[in-house]
């Protein structure tokens, strides 16, 4: 059988093209990489808050390491989720914190189950500053005083922003009162407010006895003289003792790490029953579109592993009063899911 030269050449080139195409297809599936401009949306609209600050520290280094153009956009939770939903190519990533699943647990509209709807990326840092404060001239010296007072039938009002990180400490406190003083927990009343400014104002006005705040936003207020209407006092930091211990010795402002440790467990007890204490570390992590290629997930994991190995990012985070906390995607997802289950219990206990 004789085949013409032309036919042979045709078949040959078709085969070559098919082989090349197949090879490149396999290569693409294995090595999908980020390319072009990368937008990192965050779940907060504030550029002065901890989410923006954290995202900036990480994204700047990631962009440099990968040689890509990356930009952080403070679009807020609802817009960020929607933007992420639209882009599976890996050109939109999201950074947010525990609010992303707490919002869902508290039933806030616009918050879905992130573990079902998105791919969880690596954790990057902890903000150990979540705090509860009272006015400096408050009769409550410690959190124990507050628990006792509520247990004795006194109404204590706590200013929080509902539906997330700001509320979880309040829920835990209410749960602890329900355990220690059954039936009295309703004397702990949530005053739903918005921004930190609103919470502070509630304290100045005497409309709240306790407020949720943070070491970063309220530390200067704790150093004002007692006769100043604005003066406050920390009574509780929700972070784990081990987390605060990792902060720089000088702490923040003029409040040292040693002083901050006075307000965390075991000095402050908020029981969850069965000898377990409630703690809450506000953790920041990446979220990806579920359809995004695994190659990109791995690429970011590897890049961040290299950045954290190099070590200078930790210094920047610690200087900004954040605790470095890198865990690759898979570990992060497992860990955060377990964390959510723990808090789910508290929330269902008090409802």
């Amino acid at each position: 059988m004789l085949l013409s030269k032309k036919t042979m050449m045709g078949v040959g080139s078709a085969g070559l093209i098919a082989a090349l195409a197949m090879h490149s297809g396999i290569a693409m599936a294995q090595d999908a990489q980020m390319r072009g401009n990368i937008r990192v949306v965050i779940g907060s609209t504030s550029t002065g808050g901890d989410t923006y600050q954290n995202a900036s520290i990480v994204v700047d280094r990631l962009a440099e390491h990968l040689g890509l153009n990356m930009k952080v956009d403070a679009v807020g939770a609802s817009s960020a989720f929607r933007t992420l939903d639209r882009d599976s190519r890996g050109n939109t990533l999201m950074i947010f914190h525990d609010q992303s699943y707490l919002g869902h647990l508290y039933g806030v509209q616009g918050y879905d189950d992130i573990f079902e709807k998105y791919t969880i990326g690596p954790t990057i840092a902890i903000n150990p500053g979540n705090a509860y404060l009272v006015a400096k001239d408050s009769p409550y010296e410690t959190l124990d005083d507050i628990i006792e007072a509520v247990g004795n039938g006194e109404t204590v009002r706590v200013a929080i922003q509902p539906g997330g990180v700001s509320e979880i400490g309040f829920s835990a406190l209410k749960n602890a009162i329900a355990i220690e003083h059954p039936g009295q927990e309703d004397n702990l009343v949530a005053v739903n407010t918005g921004s930190q400014s609103d919470k502070n104002q509630q304290l100045f006005d005497g409309q709240a006895d306790v407020i949720n705040g943070s070491v970063q936003a309220n530390e200067q207020y704790t150093r004002l003289p007692e006769d100043d209407q604005k003066a406050m006092r920390f009574v509780w930091l929700t972070a784990r003792q081990g987390t605060i211990e990792q902060a720089l010795e000088e702490g923040l402002g003029q409040t040292t790490r040693e002083q901050l440790l006075e307000y965390v467990e075991p000095n402050v007890d908020v029981t969850m029953g069965e000898d377990e204490n409630f703690t809450f570390d506000k953790e920041f992590f990446f979220l990806y579109n579920k359809e995004m290629d695994q190659g990109i997930v791995d690429q970011i994991d590897e890049a961040l592993a290299a950045i954290y190995d190099e070590g200078s990012i930790q210094e920047a985070q610690l200087n900004a009063f954040f605790i470095p906390d890198f865990n690759p995607s898979e570990e992060a997802s497992e860990y955060l899911q377990e964390k959510m289950t723990r808090y789910e219990e508290i929330i269902s206990n008090i409802n």
Binding site: V41, T45, S46, T47, G48, G49, D50, Y52, Q53, S56, D60, K71, V72, D73, A74, V75, G76, S78, S79, R82, T83, V108, Q109, G110, Q161, P162, G163, G164, V191, N192, T193, G194, S195, Q196, S197, D198, N200, Q201, Q202, F204, D205, Q207, Q216, A217, N218, E219, Q220, Y221, R223, L224, D228, Q229, K230, L252, G253, N319, A320, F321
Partner: protein
């Protein structure tokens, strides 16, 4: 005076550059001072705190001032706080007095900016202590006072109030945000609208749609004809500007500057309330305010001195409480946190150098703004000489780009622009009024939050009257504003009647009052 060593050539260059870029941002419809600061925020990493602040404060002052340009020349408020500038600025531009109007605005702006900077420098901690006396109740009453001006801004009080109520209603569409302490649930919409309207309509696309696009639609309706506006424009000496315009306006200038500073220092009250309040106080208190809304310099002076005074005012709570006074300072605070510097009640005593650097940059930015704009106005004012068939498509394009960019690329914001452009056109066709509607839209959601929060905190309606002496004073002002509006309404009706009876010939009889151009 250690801080003097920081003031190098780069510092001055950055203030100048920031102010120039800010003016350009402010002058482009849809771009704002807030956006300018947000875009340049990451640069502060590289520049360091002092140089970074020089740039950002330049952008802030420039951005707020730049808003006057499209407000006067095109009837599009470049920034939300320049709405009231359109009321008198655009009628003047239509009379060919755009350059004169802009010069008045620039002088009022620089005086407002400098007065507020002085107040910030001398009294910041003291005023911060005063500002915390304003709880939800007092803030609600301030918003109510600003809303009460709807009555006196309207040609017909009833139509004005009705338009204002529609504005408030539109502002309530969306969720009652948990970041305001609400329940996070959406209302006033169908389920299918949720993906688009979860956070309600964005302010800026609404603003440029209802002012800009509707103006263009109205002009387009007239068709393309030989444009005479260019020939009527009065440039240079012919422009009729002289400092004597400010004669007798000292009270207006000072009062408006202080109103701007004061509103600026109340977190959460918002910049637009400042110029609205200053404008109406002038309308209520001036000996002769009959020309306001028809192209009166006093309206421009009130509006622009107040909105530039916001800059110093909004920095008061930022630097004395760690709480931003407006949207732009909320972004500005990022410059501090990115550098690891806490802002709070001890910021000024603990960071003397940065404090002096900021004051220098703020004052300098005001002067740079003045020189850049005062001498460039001659050329800027010629924008109106561009034939409309070329100018309007460019404006529409800028509006679309601005609307798309304002929330970092949301296409629905462009639809909002179109919806409100058409709505603005229809509103004017059926005789409703745009100014009260937009004021209702801007202030409505804040009024709701503060009203609900007041009730939640105090549990009784009587608290609105009895909360504090400040609340009582505010009620006095609200009552005065309403009474004044009624008297003005009665007088204007009497005047109309008189004019009608004096008029000869049937062609002058018209049931509608089209006198003012505050659309």
């Amino acid at each position: 005076m250690e801080f003097l060593s920081v003031l190098d050539f780069t510092f001055f260059l950055l203030v100048g550059f920031g102010t120039l870029v800010g003016i350009i941002f402010g002058a482009i419809p849809g771009m704002t001072a807030t956006m300018a600061v947000a875009v340049c925020l990451p640069l502060t990493y590289a520049l360091g705190l002092n140089h970074g602040l020089a740039l950002l404060l330049g952008l802030y002052v420039g951005g707020i001032s730049g808003g006057m340009v499209p407000a006067v020349l095109l009837n599009i408020p470049g920034t939300p706080s320049s709405i009231t500038t359109t009321f008198d600025g655009y009628p003047m531009a239509r009379k060919g007095e755009g350059e004169k109007a802009l010069r008045i605005c620039v002088i009022a702006s620089v005086i407002g900016g400098l007065i507020s900077a002085a107040v910030l420098f001398l009294f910041a901690p003291l005023l911060a202590d005063f500002s915390i006396k304003f709880s939800y109740v007092e803030k609600f009453l301030i918003i109510l006072l600003a809303l009460s001006v709807i009555a006196s801004l309207s040609n017909s009080m009833l139509i004005g109030i009705f338009s204002g109520v529609i504005g408030v209603w539109l502002s309530l569409i969306g969720d009652y945000s948990i970041s305001d302490g609400g329940n996070g649930h959406t209302r006033l919409m169908f389920d299918f609208m949720e993906p688009y309207l979860f956070e309600g309509f964005s302010l800026l696309p609404v603003l440029i749609g209802i002012f800009g696009i509707s103006t263009i639609l109205l002009e387009a309706e007239k068709g393309v004809k030989r444009d005479v506006a260019g020939q009527r424009i009065k440039i240079g000496k012919e422009g009729g500007f002289s400092l004597s315009i400010f004669k007798g306006s000292l009270t207006n200038l000072t009062r408006s500057s202080f109103i701007g500073t004061f509103v600026g220092m109340l977190p959460g009250v918002g910049g637009s309330a400042a110029s609205v309040l200053a404008y109406t106080q002038e309308k209520n208190l001036a000996r002769n305010s009959s020309q306001m809304g028809k192209g009166a310099p006093q309206g421009l002076i009130a509006s622009e001195s107040a909105n530039n005074a916001l800059t110093g005012g909004a920095l008061i709570p930022l630097l004395s409480l760690g709480i931003p006074g407006d949207a732009t300072t909320a972004v500005l605070i990022g410059a501090f946190t990115l550098q690891g510097i806490q802002v709070g009640p001890l910021f000024i005593p603990e960071n003397h150098e940065t404090w002096y650097v900021m004051m220098t940059a703020l004052v300098l930015a005001n002067f740079v703004m003045f020189f850049l704009m005062f001498f460039a106005i001659k050329y800027i004012a010629k924008v109106v000489m561009v034939p409309k068939h070329i100018l309007y498509p460019i404006i529409v394009m800028m509006c679309v780009v601005g609307a798309y960019a304002i929330n970092y690329g949301i296409m629905f914001d462009v639809w909002t622009l179109l919806i409100f452009g058409v709505l603005g056109y229809l509103i004017q066709k059926i005789g409703l009024e745009i100014a009260p509607l937009i004021i209702g839209f801007i202030l409505g959601s804040q009024a709701e939050v503060y009203f609900v929060k007041s009730l939640e905190s105090f549990g009784t309606y009587s608290v609105f009257f009895t909360k504090s002496p400040i609340a009582m004073v505010l009620w006095g002002l609200i009552a005065a504003s309403v009474v004044f509006a009624i008297i003005m309404g009665i007088r204007s009706r009497a005047r109309q009647k008189m004019e009608l009876s004096q008029a000869s010939g049937p062609h002058t009889v018209s049931g509608k009052h089209h006198g003012s151009n505050n659309d």
